[in-house]
């Protein structure tokens, strides 16, 4: 660490050498150049949590605006501000919170769970994170771009420059005619950048999972979380190109006057809806399947039983992945596709509930007859099973076309997708944080604070989103910034707003718990939950090389079988002392000395840094002074990629075989 001088004062090759030497260091530079999947996972986790707080603040602003009946003038936010805030709330929670937080778990857990030392392409992994960060910052910079961005006067005067066309960006509302200013340009290009980040991650995890499993770890010995990562990654690599094309079309329409969604030229805005939802429905499974994977690990551990019907859980996950491609038009029943199309998509939507239901029953079967250990992660996992069931069932009511005609564009829909995304994805992700967090913090979360967090969040969640279901059935439309007195919506809206603040309070408890436990928490040890999978066989936090010796895998839940044998009646009995592998035993001073890990590199950072410059250049391509930013961005991108291709990947490779 002491050898790291300021990188700016070195020649380029010196800086490269120093960067490689920084593998064990902890300064800022070591984080910028890291290619270690665990550090990248932590970066993903922390960044997405900060975006979660921002997205949550936006949600509170929305709820303040709707708490009581108001007029457009008396409401807290102006209609224009409201549009921008609710757009950014959706964009943030989907693209900057749930996806990257799932990605954090892919990064942290997948190599550990399959017994690998890193992902297949460590530098591409770093590239993926930096693109996510810069894409998110690019999107959020739009807030300050309405007036003079250097003084921020537009923002201070309440004239936000953010996107205002909803996270779904429906044409023609997203076109220049209805959304002047640059907000939706930021949306189109920002999501494009985030899409590239997701694609890079998707490719990386498929190759890692298919190619880098420890000896003996056949596909059907993989933990279910790894399976769900695989399915999600396949969904990502096939869904992202579709939205990429749609976003290009939107960008060309807005920036260069193309006619994709221009009705006057014969185009149809429905093209956008088809493309968006062809991406969008696989996307909702991209959001939920990682959480399903997490609870499939948590429930068996805390029920002290193997997962009930492992192959069913795996195959139903795969089935959901396939079927998610055939249901997109259920977002478009009221656009006039016709009775045949509506019926076909209605049927496919009912069918996709079957594999999802299979999973729910398998989780209940896992808990049934187990000796439940009700720790915080387990509570969150149970919370997911219960709340997602409510959300899933409201989804089934949407699949019925005539019923959906009534619910379309009401708060019932808002309630439904928050039930599955908050009650499903977020509860699952919090289960993961409490379950696997100690592996990387080295300390356990405080149990009482954790459970307090769970119960306040559960109550807050239900107080927020169940009233919305009633409001929807009472006919309250979505996406309105205010509503008049006299519809009888005031009471339930006030409840929902109170619930939102309770959720915010529960998040404060979590933040306190995190910092408290990081310093004062009980030392976790390698295997605090007496768990089942490989990641618990190594120290907490894991060394850079993960496994001093690559494990040999013999069964599903291999780590459990190394610890426990079965007595004649099938009960687990601990393997006699001495025979069991002590988790800490393989961790000593000299262990791992000869292992060559990939060298740190700042090339992914440089390459990723080019993208927002390209983005600004495109958004302001009319301005001759800002147009050159395109060249700056392209230069950074090409420099980064060339440097990346030319530098050796490991110390080992820097000798004679410097290819």
């Amino acid at each position: 660490m002491a050898t790291i001088a300021h990188p700016g004062r070195m020649t380029f090759p010196q800086a490269m050498r120093e960067a490689r030497g920084a593998a064990a260091a902890h300064g800022l530079w070591s984080w910028i150049t890291t290619v270690d999947h665990k550090r990248i996972g932590i970066l993903y986790g922390v960044t997405s949590f900060i975006f979660f707080l921002i997205g949550g603040l936006e949600a509170l602003l929305i709820r303040i605006n709707l708490a009581t009946p108001e007029t457009a003038e008396s409401a807290f936010l102006t209609p224009d501000q409201y549009n921008r805030i609710f757009t950014m709330h959706g964009v943030t929670m989907i693209f900057l919170v749930v996806m990257p937080m799932s990605s954090a778990f892919f990064n942290l857990m997948v190599p550990l769970m399959i017994g690998a030392r890193d992902v297949a392409f460590p530098r591409m992994n770093a590239f993926s994170y930096w693109l996510f960060l810069f894409g998110g910052l690019f999107l959020y910079s739009s807030f300050f771009m309405s007036g003079n961005p250097f003084t921020g006067d537009g923002f201070i005067n309440g004239d936000f420059g953010a996107p205002d066309g909803g996270w779904f960006g429906y044409a023609p509302l997203s076109l220049e005619r209805f959304s002047s200013g640059h907000g939706m340009d930021y949306y189109a290009i920002g999501l494009q950048i985030l899409g590239v980040a997701s694609l890079a991650g998707g490719f990386n995890f498929i190759v890692t999972i298919l190619n880098m499993r420890a000896p003996g770890m056949s596909l059907f010995r993989m933990p279910v979380f790894v399976w769900m990562t695989l399915v999600t990654s396949f969904l990502i690599i096939f869904a992202m190109p579709v939205i990429a094309v749609a976003l290009f079309q939107l960008s060309f329409d807005r920036l260069f006057g193309a006619n994709f969604f221009n009705v006057a030229a014969g185009g149809t805005p429905l093209l956008w809806q088809h493309m968006f939802w062809l991406f969008g429905h696989p996307e909702v499974y991209i959001l939920i399947l990682p959480a399903f994977g997490i609870v499939s690990e948590v429930l068996p551990t805390f029920s002290r039983k193997p997962l009930f019907g492992y192959p069913f859980v795996v195959f139903s996950g795969v089935a959901i992945g396939f079927m998610s491609w055939g249901v997109w038009a259920h977002h478009m029943y009221t656009t006039g596709l016709g009775a045949v199309a509506n019926s076909a998509f209605g049927i496919s939507t009912i069918l996709i509930a079957v594999p999802t239901g299979v999973k729910i029953f398998n989780w209940m079967g896992t808990m049934w007859g187990g000796s439940l250990d009700l720790k915080t992660p387990m509570w969150f996992a149970i919370g997911l099973v219960a709340m997602f069931t409510v959300g899933g069932l409201t989804g089934v009511t949407h699949s019925i076309v005539p019923s959906d005609y009534q619910q379309q564009d009401t708060y019932y829909v808002v309630s439904h997708f928050h039930q599955v995304l908050f009650g499903g994805a977020l509860f699952g992700l919090f289960a993961g944080i409490y379950y696997w967090g100690p592996k990387f913090m080295g300390r356990l979360f405080d149990e009482r604070l954790g459970q307090l967090h769970f119960w306040t969040m559960l109550i807050g969640f239900n107080l927020t989103f169940q009233p919305m279901m009633i409001l929807g059935l009472m006919g309250m439309p979505r996406r309105i910034d205010h509503y008049p007195d006299g519809y009888g919506w005031g009471f339930w809206n006030a409840m929902a707003t109170a619930g939102a603040f309770l959720i915010a309070f529960s998040i404060l408890i979590f933040i306190f718990n995190f910092f408290y436990s990081l310093r004062r928490g009980k030392v976790a040890g390698a295997d605090p939950w007496d768990a089942r999978t490989l990641e618990w066989s190594i120290p907490s936090p894991p060394p850079a090389y993960n496994f001093a010796e690559i494990p040999q895998v013999h069964a599903v839940d291999d780590w459990w079988h190394k610890k426990y044998a079965e007595d004649p009646s099938g009960r687990p009995v601990p393997v006699p002392a001495g025979a069991a592998v002590e988790p800490e035993a393989q961790h000593g001073e000299d262990v791992g000395r000869g292992i060559h890990m990939p060298s740190p590199s700042f090339m992914p950072f440089i390459a990723a840094l080019g993208m927002p410059f390209l983005g600004y250049g495109l958004v302001y391509h009319d301005d001759p002074w800002l147009r050159p930013l395109i060249a700056v961005g392209a230069t950074l991108l090409v420099t980064g990629i060339m440097g990346w291709a030319l530098e050796p990947a490991t110390e080992e490779g820097s000798g004679a075989a410097a290819h």
């Binding site: 890193d118 690599i237 096939f238 290009f248 006057a264 290819h659």
Partner: protein, 204 residues
């Protein structure tokens, strides 16, 4: 470049992969699968908007099928020289690999030149990006394809340059050429689809 990935996988402790496919090769196949959806979406948009332009010029006013057929033929021939380049490096013949790679890059550049000429002609005859749906979908679809060919040419030239710097220069590095070839053939196949659906299917 081949050894870069080699080193990367050995660092991770797996010289042998579970599938037997090199990490990079699997990555390339996945990337091409993803690209199928990308071009699939662009082509769908084109087909959806066929014959729906409300003002001209229309495809039949502009297409010069013999010209585009020649440039398509040139692109197809580049796939042949790409195969020959791979065959050369697999036998360890670096000189022939360079010749065939340069030949492939040249044919690709000719194709791009033809496209640039075609775009210029169409533009002069009044078809702009914002003229009508045909202009919008045609330029965006063929433009993205052209960008892919351009990237391909740059990759081929980088490999030739690398071969002079002591990188890609033995049969062990054949994988690098093979991956570039996979990409190149894919871009060719996409052009066959585009040429058939966009140019040949009874333009109105």
């Amino acid at each position: 470049m081949a050894q870069v990935a080699h080193a990367e996988s050995s660092a991770a402790g797996h010289l042998e992969t579970n599938t037997g496919l090199d990490n990079r090769k699997l990555l390339m196949w996945l990337f091409l699968g993803s690209e199928c959806l990308f071009f699939g979406s662009l082509i769908s948009a084109y087909l959806l908007y066929r014959d729906r332009s409300v003002v001209g010029p229309y495809p039949a006013d502009l297409y010069d099928i013999p010209f585009t057929s020649v440039s398509s033929f040139i692109l197809l021939m580049s796939s042949l020289s790409m195969v020959l380049a791979l065959a050369a490096i697999q036998r360890g013949n670096v000189r022939n690999m360079r010749i065939w790679l340069l030949c492939t890059a040249l044919l690709g550049t000719l194709f791009i030149g033809g496209q640039a000429f075609e775009f210029t002609e169409f533009y002069r005859e009044g078809l702009h990006l914002d003229t009508n749906l045909f202009g919008t979908t045609f330029y965006v679809l063929t433009g993205f394809h052209g960008a892919h060919v351009t990237v391909g040419v740059l990759i081929l030239l980088s490999i030739v340059a690398a071969s002079f710097k002591g990188r890609v220069n033995s049969e062990e590095d054949a994988l690098t050429v093979e991956l570039a070839g996979l990409y190149w053939h894919f871009v060719d196949i996409v052009w066959i689809v585009i040429f058939t659906l966009v140019y040949l299917v009874e333009p109105t």
